[in-house]
């Protein structure tokens, strides 16, 4: 999984309702790099992440992937991004295994290949719960299932919003090592987290720099 790609953001500005949250935001991310977006609550970190994956429309700015505008790339870009937001995105009525199997079919193109579902489950420690309906899982287990999807999809660019929520210390370490591996194989990651975690080589990014008190 090589991504020689460059992810660059220039003069990005986002609004919630009629209020501008931040403006003039710029940064660059290369293969093997990770960014930790920091800032107090309500500043717009989630909005930023959603704008970067294409779920939200920014008011102004230029987002480029491999040198081309993300708005022009559309599905080409979406095929290379994996987003884990506040919601887990798992279907309660399906079993753990079924959730990952349908994800592999819906989210992976024929020409790419999905990683083995059982291996992914083993990596996050959910093998014993494979046949349980997802709604019977604990919060921490649901989060781990959402993260297992990252492993199945094998996308180069990971955008993670509070991925460590509801995870215990051992799982936090496990996830950190997963992200570390992803970076060492050339992946990119953008993380928002209030919880402390260890990830060598991750850069801090203060969102507050780009927010103003008033317009």
């Amino acid at each position: 999984m090589n991504s020689k790609g460059l992810f660059s953001v220039r003069a990005l500005s986002c609004a919630r309702g009629d209020k501008t949250l931040f403006a003039g935001l710029s940064f660059q991310l290369n293969a093997g790099e990770a960014l930790h977006v920091r800032g107090p609550n309500g500043l717009g970190k989630t909005t930023l992440l959603r704008a970067l994956c294409g779920l939200s429309r920014p008011t102004r700015g230029d987002i480029r992937w491999r040198g081309e505008r993300v708005s022009d790339l559309a599905e080409e870009f979406t095929a290379e991004v994996a987003y884990v937001g506040h919601l887990n995105g798992i279907q309660g009525e399906l079993t753990v295994l079924e959730n990952l199997q349908t994800a592999a079919r819906i989210f992976v193109r024929r020409k790419d290949s999905a990683a083995d579902v059982e291996t992914a489950l083993a990596r996050v420690g959910l093998t014993t719960s494979a046949d349980r309906p997802a709604r019977h899982l604990s919060q921490g287990q649901k989060r781990r299932l959402a993260l297992a999807r990252l492993l199945v999809l094998r996308r180069p660019f990971w955008i993670l919003d509070e991925p460590f929520t509801a995870l215990d210390a051992a799982s936090v370490e496990g996830l950190s090592s997963i992200i570390g591996e992803h970076m060492s194989t050339g992946g990119l990651a953008l993380i928002v987290s209030h919880q402390a975690f260890e990830l060598p080589g991750i850069r801090d990014f203060e969102l507050a720099r780009f927010c103003k008190a008033r317009r």
């Binding site: 609004a15 919630r16 309702g17 009629d18 209020k19 429309r57 008011t59 008033r214 317009r215």
Partner: protein
């Protein structure tokens, strides 16, 4: 609108939109236009009513009752035109992310709904002396009723979403879907009507339009058009103040007005 041909016209229009697309500029422009539009509205309305109620002769078939047509027909026309305008404003705001266009669409909706309601009520009042019924399922009245629901739906959707941007874009999609459906709805209703009421209780059988009736009709239509423009400017100005309340120029305005 006539034929607009010519790149020069389009370029001028785009330049105009750019200049007055900023809410602040439009606020000031609209403020200057309101008294003119209001004066024209009053003038045309008085003239039109005089022509319609006194000057035009009684109809051969319907006597004096037909005069309600001078209010009913312009309102029906305006209700359609306002929906088109609303859809165009909303679509522009959605596609090009222009907040002023969103505000214009939002301001047009209640005006369009009032035109539709007036058309329905006057249609109903027209029906009573003619056919003795307070409501007839005439093709046009039925279309107006459905148009009224389209308006109410649009306003209800806008009102139920808190985020102004999401509200504007969601209702833009609704307006576009509505515009596409309007010809289909008209055709279906017209066809349904001819099928079920051959011995028609219909208001579409209007009295033959003579010149004496056409003139008041046109004057009243222009009066209602300027009424729309006046009220649009007034409503958009309040909408601008509301949505731009975080900006400096609005804060200054409020402070100086106090």
């Amino acid at each position: 609108m006539g034929e607009f041909g010519g790149l020069a016209c389009v370029t001028r229009l785009i330049k105009f939109t750019h200049k007055y697309g900023a809410p602040k500029r439009f606020y000031l422009l609209a403020g200057k236009l309101v008294p003119w539009f209001a004066a024209l509205t009053a003038l045309l309305m008085v003239t039109g009513l005089y022509l319609g109620l006194y000057w035009a002769p009684p109809d051969y078939q319907q006597g004096d009752a037909y005069r309600i047509m001078f209010v009913h027909v312009p309102n029906a026309w305006m209700s359609m035109m306002a929906y088109m305008a609303m859809a165009i404003f909303a679509a522009s705001g959605y596609i090009w992310n222009v907040r002023l266009a969103d505000m214009l669409a939002k301001a047009t909706a209640p005006l369009g709904a009032s035109f539709t309601l007036t058309a329905l009520v006057t249609g109903s009042l027209w029906g009573k002396p003619m056919w003795g019924a307070w409501w007839v399922w005439d093709a046009r009245l039925t279309s107006e009723l459905i148009l009224f629901f389209l308006y109410v739906g649009y306003m209800a959707l806008q009102a139920s979403i808190d985020d102004p941007r999401r509200a504007a874009h969601a209702s833009a999609i609704l307006a576009i879907v509505g515009v596409v459906n309007i010809p289909i709805i008209h055709y279906s209703v017209y066809w349904w009507h001819t099928l079920h009421q051959p011995a028609s209780l219909t208001l579409t059988n209007q009295p033959k339009i003579y010149a004496t009736m056409l003139i008041p009709l046109i004057v009243m239509s222009m009066a209602f058009m300027f009424f729309y423009l006046t009220m649009l400017c007034v409503r958009v100005r309040s909408e601008i103040l509301l949505r731009e309340q975080h900006t400096d120029w609005v804060r200054k305005l409020i402070r100086t007005r106090r």
